[in-house]
């Protein structure tokens, strides 16, 4: 399967001379690889490792055996996209996220889409992620998914698919920013040879997005980031983003609710909080409203939200929009809410709660990828073609026991990128998670997080399953629309 995958560097069919197999966006990287000595490359990779360790950039997968700190592998060969490829993707991403936001507003509002017969009401109301507390809330700008991470895969020159939508608390953007810092430090010669669009403005855009959705009309609403604490695997990212935005990084104990308002504890006394960028899951947000055993949340927080005194980002109950069975309805949502044809395709998906689709899935397990509807992190899934008969049989029992908990998709030949492995460079499968910001407007920084499966042939890119990351480069257009050398605006106005 790895043999027939589309390689983003070497699957070119025609260069200027007609025989070049290196695709145009990768020429600079290919040249760099060809003229850089293996010793220099080894030295650079060693420097990367030191850099990440010294900066304490860590990804502690839950359940790590010795302590909670390990670095996530970073591959120094960048993943490159031409401007027109990116332009196409970003249009599709904006469209998709706008539809998801419209769906969430509707799901917690009048549910027009159910009345129209497009999405069954049970898909929303029977969903374990449905948050009754969010019903009927009028959120600023009608935005629910303020930060969305949309996972994309590529299978051919022009074929991209959305693998899944992440609209709860998607993580990984800190690696986008840090990977770029590292690459600029370690391979400056590459940057001077190619025009790579910057990503460093993400934090400014994020803060602007968060401020734009405050209920209060203060010119500078007080925004804080709520983290579960430093034992969380993404803690580094929480601290990093709070730092970049210059806002307070809070744990539950730093906040309290008094008379329906949220305050933070400071040495000079309580200070009001307007917007909470929370990286704590719904169930732990408020021990009064949700799980009473949660120490991560703030008692009374959801009351303050319902009273319109504090906004919570991303909104409560977004899980109804990003599980793997709602996913199958997203193209219909785009048609229903926006009256447009979807730009980005879904992967064909069989839902095991549909009897005939269930039958097909059981008969074809060896060819399919089967996933839990609410699964994440590459766990609880079966990759048919790389599994043994016994593994397939065992998994079939899970599916028979709870068909509604599973969906299946064809095994996609994810594109590959050249990657450093062991002794040299070899193709490894990659995906892409761009981050879409929605406030009073929609913003995307060019690129996103490229995750790479470091094991040969593996299609599982999750960092908790041994995946690594790459810097993702979007090249500036060759003939910029602005002749003054300015980088074209990376912004699509929301409707």
């Amino acid at each position: 399967m790895a043999a027939k995958a589309f390689d983003e560097m070497n699957s070119g069919t025609s260069g200027p001379g007609g025989t070049d197999s290196v695709r145009a966006p990768y020429r600079g990287v290919a040249n760099w690889l060809a003229r850089t000595s293996p010793e220099r490359v080894a030295a650079t990779r060693h420097e990367v490792d030191l850099f990440y360790r010294r900066h304490g950039i860590t990804f502690g997968a839950y359940g790590a055996v010795d302590g909670h700190e390990a670095t996530i592998p970073f591959d120094i060969i960048p993943r490159v996209m031409a401007w027109d490829e990116w332009e196409y993707l970003s249009k599709g991403l904006v469209q998709r996220v706008q539809a998801l936001n419209a769906f969430l507003s509707d799901a917690y509002g009048a549910r027009e889409i159910c009345r129209a017969g497009v999405v069954p009401e049970s898909q929303i109301l029977m969903n374990g992620e449905f948050a009754a507390m969010a019903q009927g809330l009028a959120l600023p700008g009608g935005v629910h998914a303020h930060i969305a991470g949309i996972d994309l895969v590529r299978v051919g020159e022009k074929d991209f698919y959305v693998l899944e939508d992440n609209v709860r608390t998607p993580s990984g953007v800190s690696y986008v920013l840090e990977n770029r810092e590292v690459m600029m430090r370690l391979a400056p010669e590459l940057f001077s040879a190619m025009r790579v669009l910057p990503v460093a403005n993400y934090s400014d855009e994020l803060l602007a997005t968060l401020r734009s959705v405050s209920f209060s009309d203060d010119a500078e609403p007080n925004v804080v980031l709520l983290t579960p604490g430093h034992f969380n695997s993404a803690y580094f990212e929480h601290a990093f983003l709070a730092d970049e935005m210059g806002i307070e990084l809070c744990e539950g104990a730093d906040l309290f609710v008094d008379e329906g308002r949220v305050y933070m504890r400071t040495p000079r006394g309580p200070q009001r909080v307007d917007v909470i960028y929370r990286r704590v899951d719904d169930a732990f947000l408020d021990p009064l409203a949700m799980r009473p055993d949660s120490f991560l949340g703030v008692a009374g927080l959801l009351g303050a939200l319902r009273a319109g005194r504090v906004n919570i980002v991303n909104a409560l109950g977004n899980g109804v929009a990003d599980d793997k069975s709602t996913y199958t309805y997203v193209p219909e949502m785009i048609r229903f809410y926006l009256g447009e044809e979807p730009i980005l395709s879904n992967v064909p998906t069989w839902r095991c709660d549909q009897p005939d689709e269930f039958k097909y899935v059981l008969e074809h397990l060896a060819e399919l990828v089967v996933k839990e509807v609410h699964g994440s992190g590459g766990k609880g899934m079966l990759v048919g073609p790389t599994s043994s008969k016994a593994e397939i049989e065992a998994f079939a029992d899970f599916v028979r026991a709870r068909p509604d908990n599973y969906i299946a998709q064809p095994t996609l030949a994810l594109s590959t990128c050249p990657t450093f492995v062991g002794q040299g460079v070899a193709p490894r499968h990659v995906d892409l998670r761009p981050f879409v910001l929605s406030g009073r407007k929609v913003t995307i920084i060019p690129g996103g997080l490229t995750r790479v499966a470091l094991k040969e042939g593996s299609l599982v890119v999750n960092s908790s399953q041994g995946g690594g990351t790459k810097d993702t480069w979007v090249l500036a257009p060759e003939n910029p629309p602005h002749s003054n050398g300015e980088v074209p605006a990376q912004r699509a106005e929301g409707s």
């Binding site: 360790r53 010294r54 900066h55 304490g56 430093h230 580094f236 601290a239 990093f240 709070a242 730092d243 307070e248 990084l249 809070c250 744990e251 104990a253 730093d254 933070m264 504890r265 400071t266 040495p267 000079r268």
Partner: protein
């Protein structure tokens, strides 16, 4: 700034200073043991207020080497150098966004170095190099704080923690060492024990400072004066409590309010500023220092009440 941030920075200052003081003290004690009698372990344990803990550990042979391992390497001893650095680093890690990259990187580098040294076999572990490294790098970390941190609340809490810890450490050293060397409390009795007094000064790195200030042979009375009362000696109790008072005033100016902790800091500073060494020995050194140390501890509690999450 959050109260929890103030708390983390305060404790980061305390732990880092504790590791640094311990390193210096152990170095001085080892030299003292080489040059004189062999029963330093009990005295060192006393300085750390750990006679009981030390006796309870499996190392009951009373040897200095066992005690040093207890104070340097023992991860079960919350005040050991290794534990202190780990605690300081954990405080800093939670406040990555309130300290500079320079401070974080230097502290994290020290922690990484200690972790990798600890992975080595205990038999071949070079304790001397480890202690040296803690001393050197702690200076680098405080130096990084000095040159790179914004002079805001966070900085003052870090300083408060470091200077309160240092004041207490010096007061303890004077207290215990004088008790060991002059059990009768008379500072004039015997001036022959030159090496011992020089090593007492070495505990706070002030041997050359003594010569610069007094230009005379080592005199226990002057040693006590230097360590307690000289405002210009950066590790003296007076200097540290002066700095505590100064940082408290900066915070009071920032917040526009004063509380009981401000009063206590001012009182402690004044007590050191107007004390005379001869008078102290008249009252009794142990009694004087006992009072100062009680007040330092009460001030620390009151700071917790006034500003921090307790």
């Amino acid at each position: 700034m959050l109260s929890s941030t103030a708390k983390n920075l305060y404790w980061m200052g305390r732990y880092l200073q504790r590791a640094k003081s311990t390193a210096r003290l152990i170095e001085a004690t080892q030299r003292m043991a080489l040059q004189s009698r062999g029963e330093e372990a009990a005295g060192v344990a006393a300085i750390f207020g750990m006679e009981d803990e030390f006796r309870q550990t499996q190392q009951q042979d009373g040897r200095l080497a066992s005690l040093i391992d207890f104070l340097v390497l023992d991860e079960g001893n919350p005040s050991s150098i290794v534990s202190s650095i780990a605690a300081a680093r954990s405080n800093a890690r939670e406040e990555r966004n309130n300290i500079t990259v320079d401070v974080w990187e230097s502290l994290n580098a020290l922690w990484l170095e200690l972790s990798s040294r600890l992975r080595a076999d205990r038999a071949t572990l070079d304790r001397g190099a480890l202690i040296e490294s803690v001393k050197k790098q702690a200076v680098m970390i405080f130096g990084a704080a000095q040159v790179t941190l914004l002079r805001d609340e966070a900085y003052h809490f870090l300083q408060l923690g470091a200077f309160l810890e240092r004041a207490d450490n010096t007061a303890r050293i004077v207290d215990v060492k004088f008790h060991l060397l002059r059990p009768d409390g008379d500072p004039h009795a015997d001036k022959t024990d030159y090496f011992a007094w020089s090593e007492v000064l070495a505990c706070i790195g002030a041997v050359r400072t003594y010569r610069r200030i007094y230009r005379s042979a080592l005199d226990p009375l002057k040693v006590a004066e230097l360590m307690m009362l000289r405002r210009d000696v950066p590790r003296s109790v007076h200097h540290c409590l002066w700095m505590v008072d100064l940082n408290m005033r900066e915070l009071a100016d920032t917040y526009g309010t004063r509380g009981e902790a401000d009063r206590m800091a001012g009182e402690l500073h004044a007590r050191m500023r107007y004390a005379r060494v001869e008078k102290i020995f008249e009252i009794g050194l142990a009694r004087f220092l006992g009072g100062v140390r009680d007040n330092i501890s009460a001030l620390s509690d009151e700071i917790g009440r006034q500003f921090l999450l307790d």
